[in-house]
Symmetry: C2
Subunit: 673 residues, 2 copies
């Protein structure tokens, strides 16, 4: 008899290709390269040795052309934007320190020169930065200002006498901090500072500042401090930089978006200081984009390890004299299988993000609007995937018990290294707030010219119905829909269209609720207005998260259309349903309170999720195998056959013992005799 | 005007004394001792050096009488059971490796000799074990069996010819694993093995087995392996032990609960093999008890650091030209203040656990029933506090941004070290399953003699009403209540009695639901019965967790009666309400689905929690200061004034600049001129 759950087959090879996404070839090339153990993290290595090792790896990588992909051909580059990020993300499998130190060197330092500078800067520094002859730090964050970059306190004051900028750190809070390559390896830094000329502060600009000579000695006026050991990423020499009135030539201003003439006159192609600032920052969005991908692979690797072990490890007699495989326990299924669904959703949504990134940065679709959409998309996805990585890795580690705690099995190291992904390149909560404000902006635009009373009355009346369509990948950037309400039942089924409706409605309703309340507080004095904002902050962040979840769900659903193998498509549809319904279950209280789901439907949801976990259980191994990690990427002994060997040896021993007739009799049986 | 939220005052000194609990003096003594930096963890130290350091610390501790507290006076002990655990828990503030290595030496290895052995063993080994002349490993867990100790495969076969036991490891899965002191320092081990004599297996017993000579060389037949670097606790030399037919004298069987005569005849004071096994294991419950306390201090320390920083760190202009203190943001309040409430609940419930432990182990109230209650209580509380520690430390680390990721600020180290607390000394899920089964047992006892149809009909009819009273600290061990239903409204307020009702009802209803379904499956064949169990496992674990939450809530509420200062009592009552309501909010979907809360009430709950967070915000610093950590316990620079100094320096700089008249004009203003 054909059992759908059991006998449906996944085409693992084809699915792997689909998961690798648009730049599969570059990913495979990177994965091939890091099969060389010279790139692998050595668990337990002291941080000073780890730093030296990763520095060497970076030089090897540069020699293999690894830092060049995104840059112009005339500087040895390949001019592939999406492909560059894709290849770079794969390094996380070798050692996240390698990935992030590469990111510092090429994604931040070199990219700042390229994205914020002009040809004279490219000619002078790009080749050496690409080849690692010129290791550099990206000096934006200060001890006192991380999320609020606009308020950094480092100054770059123009001196027309000498045609130099004077870079200065006025107090301890203005030290540049947490910078990779700052403690040891950097020879220069791209330094963000308030540009002051003729007594006017033109806001944050970026300057190329040499910091060490050929022998690694600090240049005059440069002080650096070592951030010391960290929670992870200890292959990177993070540190602080302080500038004591350091002078650099006028030409060292990276002047694409703002320049100072010899006489000190400031000019910029972007008149608005605010827009100019956000344009400069937006040019560096690739960090966020790549963290979304790397975090997703990190979670996927953890699942590969935990599912493989859970499929081999046995514990407790199942009542027939044989021990139960962990993944056959209800709790074990529930703790791992929904997380496979999330990893898939993230893999597909990340490829969408990467394609959008490529369109903008290749110049194919580079407008203010597409840049804004890209930034919003990155700000929505990066928090979800990085938090999910920590959650998934931790669950995987616990699911592997004591083995999970051994460094050799990789899970603890992944957690340590990926921990900071949730607060760097934009703190996750701050990023979600950006997304929330964008959604509020769309919301407000819809009601321009209407007064707040009308609006509040309208929102109260609308309840469950659609207020806008801005909350989805498909409609990203579209205007809000008409006010026209669509009456409909509060009851839903749980199929694809229902899932979409429920997820999209939640975004819309939450943004409407918060928007209405903030709109009513618009005319309050600043302090009171901020208190109203504070009272709504948690819900606004939650709305932004809901928006990101919807984007992931949509990307997963779109991927089903591209899955040609029937068996694979069937299993992926179950997996997508599991993803969608798990999201709805997570927010079930909201759906019940808002009247969108009945209590009965809420209960049905949980049993349906349980059934989906059971149906997917026979496919769990295929689903994690489809990530395509080779033994050199996995490396964890418990996921490389060691547990299987032990189980077989134990079973053979007991079988032999029984056969020999020498097995001791259990006390209970002996008593009965 | 008197503002209750702002002007109510906490008596921090008195509250500190209350939080330190029953054995405050011993805690203070331990805290005083670890002010010596010789006991502190050095962030970033290589694990081999860290191990050597902690070994030295243990010797110092022994010299200061730190390992002796629980043992009989004739062996140099103090015979204080609760006090011993209390003092030991405080070591987590110095270095969790020190706490756990002490636990291995005195809480496990030495305790096994004392709890499972008899006077001849005490005379021979206790003094040296207490003084650290005899470092030892506790060899229970095997690579293949952790949670299922009954199935360990190491054998101890009695040889009447030589009057020796032959200890043997039959295959790789039977290696003893993850043992502190096994890789380097241990001279002996208390080894758990299947006792076989005259061809009968009498189940798991414990043997004293020497493993290394005075020079640290392995004795004949002993193989040890190093577990290598781990996710944390790297000051401990965890490793594996393998026994190749190692012979020990008959007297080395720790024979309190089972003995073998010279001729090989087995005898035991406990006839039932099952009860005997659980009695032996129960004698070692102190590990779990102490983890509950240590995890609670770990979470408290993280909150002390994050709240102090959150009260000094500023980011983003508040609209008046001044920057907002982090803890004034709605999200920051919500992420930290409810976790203070949980830490308080845990502190109070842990003291209850410790008092119960003391009553049993001092012999004051030592019966089968009190032992079972103690084990259930420990199994309910340890999972909640250890998981909460990881969650709280992680949130604290993220709330401190980049600073939180620096090892010097302690949060990442605490997370690394406490990670394994959730899976060792009983995997948290397995412990909750024990609690769940105990609750099911109470449930089943209530209905003995009634058939399953009657029962199902009854359960369906009862719905929200009370089925039993077994689910609370106050009633622990009491029988289930009568079947008589108490009709009452599904609507509740949110006051103390309502919180209790809601929390208790949830336990009762979930146990009833699961119990009814499992009862119906009682007569199925093993494989099908296990599948029914699996289908209910997640809910059973959730019921056990709900039981633990109720215990914590009750302990917090009982503590309010003991708070004499009025202001303190007022603030603690808000904090207890926040704890109770946050639990209800966490499970809101359940309350809505089960008809116990209406949608309106559910919404009111969330706003009330927000209001409580606001009301508690001015007291946040006092609440974390009341944990009583001295600078030598906190050590994190960001919680020791460094941030405050930086903020003041920055503000002074800008004030001076404004006064000087040399401040650059912002571009926007310059344009207007």
């Amino acid at each position: 008899m054909f059992d759908t759950a059991r006998d449906t087959r996944i085409d693992v090879t084809a699915l792997n290709r689909q998961l690798l996404g648009t730049w599969a070839d570059i990913r495979l090339e990177a994965r091939e390269m890091i099969k060389d153990e010279a790139f692998w993290q050595i668990p337990g290595q002291h941080y000073t040795e780890h730093r030296a090792r990763v520095l060497e790896q970076l030089k090897t990588l540069a020699a293999k052309d690894g830092g060049a992909r995104s840059f112009p051909k005339e500087y040895g580059g390949h001019e592939t934007q999406g492909g560059n990020i894709a290849g770079f993300e794969e390094l996380v499998l070798a050692d996240p320190s390698l990935q992030i130190k590469s990111g510092v060197q090429w994604g931040l330092f070199t990219s700042a020169i390229y994205q914020l500078g002009t040809k004279k800067h490219w000619d002078k520094w790009l080749p050496d930065a690409i080849s690692m002859k010129l290791p550099g730090a990206f000096a934006m964050t200060e001890t006192g200002h991380g999320s609020d970059v606009q308020s950094i306190a480092t100054t770059a004051t123009y001196d027309p006498e000498t045609e130099e900028f004077v870079i200065n750190t006025p107090f301890h809070g203005a030290y540049k901090d947490y910078l990779g390559n700052a403690a040891n390896d950097g020879r220069a830094a791209t330094v963000f500072a308030q540009l002051i000329t003729n007594g006017v502060n033109y806001g944050v600009h970026c300057f190329f500042v040499p910091i060490r000579d050929e022998n690694g000695e600090h240049l005059d006026g440069i002080i650096s401090e070592d951030d010391g050991p960290k929670g992870g990423l200890n292959g990177i020499d993070n540190g602080r930089l302080c500038f004591d009135n350091v002078r650099v030539p006028r030409e060292n201003l990276l002047n694409k978006y703002g320049d100072v003439a010899a006489d000190g006159t400031y000019s910029s192609p972007i008149a608005s200081p605010g827009r100019r600032f956000f344009t400069m920052l937006g040019a560096l969005v690739q960090g966020r984009v790549s963290l979304d991908g790397a975090a997703t692979w990190g979670a996927a690797l953890a699942l590969k390890i935990a599912v493989t072990y859970g499929n081999q490890r046995r514990q407790f007699d199942d009542g027939t004299g044989s021990e139960t495989v962990l993944l056959d326990y209800g709790k074990h299924r529930r703790r791992l299988i929904p997380r496979i669904a999330t990893a898939y959703a993230q893999t597909f949504s990340h490829d969408e993000l990467l394609k959008k990134f490529d369109l903008v940065f290749s110049g194919a679709e580079d407008t203010d609007e597409t840049r804004q959409d890209l930034e919003t998309l990155a700000a929505a996805l990066k928090p979800l995937s990085t938090w999910n990585a920590l959650d998934t890795i931790q669950e995987a580690r616990e699911a592997c018990g004591g083995q999970g705690f051994l460094a050799e099995n990789r899970l603890v190291g992944l957690h340590h290294d990926l921990d900071v992904y949730v607060t760097f390149e934009g703190d996750n909560n701050i990023l979600l707030q950006l997304v929330g404000k964008r959604l509020l902006g769309d919301f407000a635009a819809q009601f321009k010219g209407k007064d707040s009373k009308q609006l509040a009355a309208y929102a109260a009346k609308q309840g469950a119905s659609k207020v806008f369509h801005g909350a989805g990948l498909r409609q990203l950037g579209q205007a809000f829909a008409d006010l026209g309400s669509t009456a409909r039942s509060v009851e839903f089924g749980l199929r694809e269209e229902d899932q979409h409706q429920l997820l999209a409605d939640r975004v819309q309703q939450m943004v409407t609720d918060v928007g209405t309340r903030l709109n009513a507080a618009r005319k309050l004095p600043p302090v009171e207005a901020q208190e109203v904002f504070n009272e709504n902050q948690v819900e606004l962040l939650e709305a932004a998260r809901a928006h990101g979840e919807l984007l992931q769900w949509e990307a997963f659903t779109d991927a089903l259309d591209k899955t040609s193998d029937e068996g694979t498509c069937t299993v992926l549809t179950w997996l997508r349903d599991l993803f969608g319904l798990s999201l709805i279950e997570k927010h079930l209280a909201w759906y019940l309170v808002s009247g969108r789901l009945s209590a009965q439907r809420g209960q049905a949801l949980t049993s349906y999720i349980d059934r989906l976990c059971n149906r997917l259980r026979p496919h769990a191994q295929d689903l994690v195998d489809a990530f395509g990690f080779a033994p050199e990427h996995v490396r964890a002994p418990i996921a490389s056959g060691a547990e299987d060997t032990r189980q077989n040896e134990a079973r053979a021993y007991f079988a032999e013992l029984r056969k020999s007739g020498n097995a001791p009799i259990p006390e209970k049986k002996a008593k009965k005799q």
